[in-house]
């Protein structure tokens, strides 16, 4: 039966709503902080050959292409002839899933009237996967946790109990892991039921018609955008701290007919620590950056993603192959967009932002009773992970966002909730004046944080910070953002990455990086400079030095603040 254009319009809307709903179900039931707070999950629906038709927009772009490619891997490994109604498949393979062992991807085939019609897939970051725990310390992927190749978690509705027993005995939090696996399976099941309702409502026997409609329209729209761009190529590069040695990211972005190619030749090789990135994750962030700039409103599906091609030499840090350690692949991954934008700005000026903080400013605090003196009876051991953001880069027409994640979509946790999670005290979490690079448009401000423990505790501090030695670079005359700093309150220096001991009574003081400025600071609208001074985004020193505000104007602004004037 053929369907009208109007019916297909409705069905496309419905499929997007179905995957969003699928993702929401996961957010509410998952145990992992990064899922519920950071939206580190994904959900999608696929036609029978594994082409993705719709994907939920969640907190992380890191799953964008990974999800698009995943189902094809499952079909290949399981074999079409072995796909049965009631099956559920699983993997956490970093190369066939989403880049590290902590992400579990589950795929469920959808059957309608006994006939296989499509697939649902979803991915979530789990609390623990065994091995050394989440950190950069593994020398190979074997040390980073248990590896689950693509397997059947359930066949014809019967769960593989052997697998469950194996998984349980290899992780630190077995109840949570198995709970999350079932949540993923349920989330696919919810999507499946809604799909079948839709197929009944529109009397569909298969998804061929709607798939063609979605993919054709998406492909056409994406290619129209690409083919309207100048056919040019340009190089981009940036250097970041890395773990022990600086890492250089290089890319050549080429706009060609019907495709954009991003080639990372020239990028640094593998790192000894687990900050290497499987290509699938590099592709996700490269593609995300380009889509934001060129085709932001076109939904993600197989056709809208296909024209964005990404290559990198094997065993460069952005194309790590098995068995490279990859647990913290997000750090480098989060800098991919700024690298791409360095190139894209040369082809399409006045479109992309200046560099920002890039990777999230995360740290984990491992608290324990003090060992230097008798600890109080109520002292406990506890792990507390927090997500925080520096400033975003200034845009051609707008200031950078203060303390807001980009490219990640992470949410921070309330400090009141963090302090309930363990005996940690967050003494300070507020904006960092003068950290946004000066410019016609100012970079977003970074933030200050100060962290200690409750009386009777000491802790290890696992830092995952970058931009200590490589602050965000300004664009078109804009100034650099402020770099990351980290030390203890007695002046003891600390490193941006790695596990470091903090003794009883000491606090860790951090200043997270600001975004870079865009354009010449002296061209900034004087009213905006005054506003920034009144709010304390910039100091009187910066107002005078960077923006040329007169002493008289500065005094006027400060007097206005004292009078409570609304600026």
């Amino acid at each position: 039966m053929s369907h009208s254009n109007v019916a297909y319009q409705v069905m496309w809307n419905r499929l997007i709503s179905i995957v969003e709903e699928q993702a929401q179900a996961l957010v509410r039931t998952a145990f992992s902080t990064s899922v519920r707070e950071a939206g580190d999950l994904s959900a999608g629906v696929y036609e029978i050959d594994g082409q993705m038709l719709a994907q939920a927009v969640t907190g992380t772009p890191g799953h964008v292409n990974a999800m698009a490619d995943a189902v094809a891997h499952f079909i290949g490994r399981i074999g079409r002839e072995n796909i049965f109604e009631g099956d559920v498949y699983i993997t956490n393979d970093p190369w066939e899933g989403t880049g590290h062992l902590h992400d579990i991807t589950m795929v469920t085939p959808s059957f309608h009237h006994g006939k296989h019609v499509g697939f649902f897939a979803c991915t979530a970051h789990v609390v623990d996967i065994g091995g050394r725990g989440l950190g950069a310390d593994g020398a190979s992927v074997y040390e980073e946790g248990i590896h689950i190749p693509i397997l059947k978690f359930a066949e014809r509705g019967v769960v593989d109990k052997t697998m469950v027993a194996m998984l349980r005995s290899n992780v630190r939090e077995p109840d949570q892991l198995i709970g999350d696996i079932y949540a993923l399976a349920t989330c696919n099941e919810i999507g499946h039921r809604r799909l079948i309702e839709m197929m009944d409502e529109f009397t569909l026997n298969d998804l061929t018609g709607i798939a063609t409609f979605i993919l054709d329209n998406s492909r056409r729209a994406t290619l129209e955008r690409i083919n309207a761009l100048p056919r040019q190529s340009a190089d981009g590069e940036m250097t970041i701290d890395g773990f022990d040695t600086p890492i250089s990211l290089k890319v050549k972005v080429s706009i060609e007919q019907d495709r954009i190619l991003s080639d990372f030749t020239g990028t640094s090789g593998l790192d000894k620590k687990g900050i290497n990135v499987p290509l699938v994750y590099t592709k996700a962030y490269a593609c995300y950056a380009l889509k934001c700039a060129i085709a932001p409103e076109i939904p993600n599906n197989a056709a809208s993603l296909a024209p964005f091609e990404v290559t990198a030499p094997e065993n460069s840090i952005v194309n790590a192959v098995h068995p490279a350690p990859v647990a913290l692949r997000h750090i480098i991954g989060h800098f991919v967009p700024d690298t791409i934008y360095d190139a894209l700005d040369k082809i399409l000026p006045d479109l992309v932002p200046a560099e920002g903080a890039g990777c999230l400013c995360n740290f984990q605090v491992s608290l324990r009773p003090r060992t230097d003196a008798p600890a109080p009876a109520n002292a406990v051991r506890s792990e507390v992970l927090t997500f925080n953001s520096g400033g975003a880069g200034a845009r051609p027409e707008h200031d950078g966002l203060n303390a807001t994640a980009f490219p990640s979509g992470v949410m921070t946790m309330p400090i009141e909730a963090t302090e309930h999670a363990g005996p940690v005290i967050i003494w300070r979490k507020e904006l960092r004046p003068d950290s946004g690079g000066a410019g016609k448009q100012r970079g977003g401000l970074g933030q200050f944080m100060e962290v200690g423990a409750r009386e009777g505790h000491e802790f290890d501090f696992q830092a995952m910070l970058d931009r200590v030695d490589h602050p965000a670079r300004g664009r078109r005359g804009g100034q650099h953002g402020a770099p990351t700093t980290i030390e203890q309150d007695d002046g003891t220096p600390m490193r941006g990455k790695g596990k470091q001991f903090v003794a009883h009574g000491r606090h860790v003081l951090m200043a997270f990086p600001g975004g870079a400025g865009y354009g010449d600071a002296t061209k900034r609208d004087p009213d905006m400079v005054k506003r920034d001074l009144a709010r304390g985004y910039i100091s009187t020193v910066s107002a005078a030095k960077d923006y040329g505000l007169s002493a008289e104007d500065i005094a006027g602004v400060l007097a206005g603040v004292a009078r409570g004037d609304i600026v």
Binding site: V27, T29, P296, L401, E419, G564
Partner: protein, 691 residues
């Protein structure tokens, strides 16, 4: 002596609705809202309903008032000169929000500005920990210089929000004491009173919002009292709050943030009342006006409530683009879908509708006021759902040719469709958007809509409700009379109520019955106290609720407890109640995990008004057919002849088979081909799936 008539007043964005009930009869009117002095429209409305009913203003015994003034002041940033006093190190909590972007793919995204810019946020030392114990003391000497600065700057209203104050209010109260001494004229709001809940961003934002609108609302409410007295109306005035109950005018002036969204809350109470009349335990209320549609689940004749919601969304009604307010509120989904919502075609050649709206000026193209873009109303007209000569009681003649021109220009021309197909596409997309919102809301609450009855009100709802029911698999739809002033009628049905909430963590493995009894008793005293200020003698019922989750999860679910379960608490019962509700919501429980309680809540309420169930009738005869017209049928994708019935001529038990249109001055009910309509004795039009 005071009369027995009751008056409901709802100040909306465009109209102020006034409803007077006397001796079982209802009189209503709509007058244009007078923004500069909203009380003027109320007085005008009172004059009109008093004239209609023959009741003198002195005969009004009680006024229940709801208003969007609080919401609008927040949206339009028209509040007082307000300062925030917060804990050192946390000056920017209301500005840093969640540190995330609510729209992932927009490089030019800007986040909404906080209500108070940074220079209006002051800090004091002193610090509590997560048990409420003092880590760093706070002294008067610390506070005084800060208050001196604030006083010198001439702030009118002060918000106080300190870290962990929901556990221990001592520091906030000390700050308030110093403010009271040094700034006796300033109004003060404390986060430990306005919203004693964990999560500093929501709590601080809520106390700031309260402080920001307090002077404005206080002054408005006292002017209103004076004006009413001047008119001889000396009765008590009560205010509808966002949680669906009513509070005294004094409580409203102290906690004006609780008035936000009181109008829509009245609509939900209205629907709940109809549900009670029909003995329906599962109802979906659907309110569609000019710019938005609101959907609410009403179970057991009680609207679903929530602890936090977002006001003033700035970006296509997108979650996260507004500001969170943590107060007890009726839980509704609001989407940008109304009669004025505009249609267009995007890059994927998909039809999009809303949230941009044509408003009343220029209005939809068919209004003939130079609107060139097609709105939902234009699609409704082209599809035959509206009669061009009989819109809004004949006050506007609609121009179908203009609708077609607009549809062709924006949609048909791009997608190679004729005007009818374009209109069908636009209507289907807006209906699908609303259906998706309803489905997601239902799934989030573990509900299956096929067991639900829809109650539709608001000007545009009856045009779309039938199709929405088809899409949702809902088999019964009720369109009550008086649907145009549903919220104001709802005010008259609301109980006196006040919900007190507090965040206190407790794992079931550390279950402490004595602490629980003390906490709930405390909350009960607080909530009951507010209700007592409204009525010194009424019976008060206390409803107990706790929010629970598995330890390690971030999302808690509300668990209702009986008084016995709450006041003689034991861990096994709490756990069993949690597992029961969790399983219902998510399909399964998780073995081996501890469970924790995060928030405690007591709602004190007077008993719901006794509702006499109506004697529902079956179809007795056919309604008189006033004519025929061509209405587009989505099932066959073509026009069909539809019977036209005038609502006023339908007697009890009179029915008509779809496709049909039931018309009245205020609106038109579309009965799809799959449904039949029937008039019930209370005037509701009952639209059901044909047998």
């Amino acid at each position: 002596m005071m009369g027995t008539a009751r008056l409901g007043v709802d100040i909306g964005g465009t109209f102020t609705d006034v409803v007077l009930e006397d001796d079982g009869k209802t009189y209503s009117t709509k007058v244009l809202t007078t923004y500069a002095a909203p009380e003027n429209a109320i007085i005008e409305g009172i004059h009109q309903v008093c004239a209609k009913s023959g009741v003198a203003p002195t005969g009004i015994g009680q006024i229940i008032h709801g208003t969007t003034l609080a919401t609008n002041a927040l949206i339009e940033r028209r509040g007082a000169k307000t300062a925030l006093i917060t804990t050192e190190g946390f000056r920017d909590v209301i500005e840093m929000r969640t540190e995330s972007r609510f729209e992932q793919y927009d490089l030019n995204l800007n986040l909404p500005e906080p209500l108070l810019p940074r220079q209006m946020r002051y800090t004091v030392p002193g610090r509590l920990d997560a048990t409420g114990a003092e880590l760093v003391p706070l002294t008067r000497a610390d506070i005084e210089p800060v208050i001196d600065q604030i006083a010198a700057a001439g702030y009118e209203s002060i918000a106080i929000g300190l870290i962990h104050s929901y556990l221990n209010p001592a520091h906030e109260r000390l700050v308030a004491e110093v403010v009271a001494e040094k700034m006796p004229d300033a109004m003060v709001s404390l986060s430990c009173e306005v919203s004693p809940q964990m999560r500093e961003y929501e709590r601080f934002n809520t106390v700031v919002a309260n402080a920001y609108i307090k002077p404005l609302m206080k002054s408005y409410l006292s002017r209103l009292e004076d004006r009413l007295k001047g008119e001889g109306v000396n009765c008590s005035i009560f205010l509808m709050h966002s949680g669906g109950g009513i509070i005294s005018i004094e409580s409203a002036a102290d906690f004006p943030v609780r008035l936000v969204e009181s109008g829509p809350a009245g609509g939900a109470v209205f629907a709940a009342h109809i549900a009670a009349r029909y003995g329906l335990d599962k109802v979906l209320s659907f309110d569609m006006g000019g710019t938005t549609a609101k959907i609410c689940l009403i179970k057991n004749q009680t609207p679903k409530t929530s602890r936090v919601f977002e006001v003033a969304r700035t970006y296509r009604f997108k979650k996260g683009s507004g500001m969170p307010i943590s107060i007890p509120v009726i839980d509704m989904v609001e989407i940008g879908a109304g009669g004025g919502s505009l249609g267009s075609v995007d890059a994927m050649r998909q039809i999009r509708v809303g949230p941009e709206s044509a408003g009343s000026e220029p209005g939809p193209a068919c209004y003939g006021r130079s609107g060139l873009r097609p709105a939902v109303t234009d699609a409704d007209l082209v599809l035959g759902k509206l009669d061009p000569d009989n819109f809004a009681g004949g006050s506007i003649t609609l121009d179908a040719a203009a609708s077609k021109t607009a549809l062709n220009a924006e949609i048909g021309g791009v997608l190679d469709m004729d005007a009818t197909t374009s209109a069908f596409g636009l209507a289907e997309v807006v209906d699908e958007n609303m259906a998706n919102a309803a489905r997601v809301h239902a799934v989030e609450n573990g509900e299956d809509l096929s067991e639900y009855t829809m109650i539709a009100f608001g000007g545009a709802a009856p045009l779309h409700a039938g199709r929405l029911c088809e899409k949702l698999g809902v088999h019964r739809l009720l369109v009550p009379s008086g649907a145009g002033v549903g919220s104001a009628i709802g005010f008259l049905r609301a109980p006196f109520s006040f919900e007190a909430n507090r965040s206190v963590y407790m794992r079931l493995s550390d279950f402490d019955p004595d602490a629980i009894i003390a906490l709930l008793t405390d909350l009960n005293t607080e909530a009951t106290g507010f209700v007592r200020t409204c009525d010194a003698h009424a019976k008060i019922i206390s409803e107990y609720k706790v929010y629970m989750r598995y330890t390690g999860q971030g999302w808690e679910i509300p668990i209702e407890l009986t008084e016995e379960q709450a006041m003689a608490p034991d861990a096994e019962t709490f756990k069993a109640r949690f597992i029961e509700d969790y399983t219902k919501l998510f399909g399964r429980s998780v073995d081996g995990m501890d469970v924790e309680i995060t928030v405690w809540s007591v709602n004190a309420t007077t008993p719901p008004e006794r509702v006499d169930p109506i004697k529902q009738v079956a179809r007795k005869n056919d309604a008189p057919i006033a004519g025929k017209r061509q209405v587009f049928d989505p099932g066959t994708s073509d026009f069909q002849d539809a019977h036209v019935v005038l609502r006023d001529t339908m007697l009890d038990g009179a029915g008509v088979d779809g496709p049909a249109v039931v018309t009245e001055d205020e609106t038109t009910i579309i009965v799809p081909a799959s449904r039949a309509a029937l008039r019930q004795p209370d005037g509701c039009i009952d639209v059901r799936t044909k047998p």
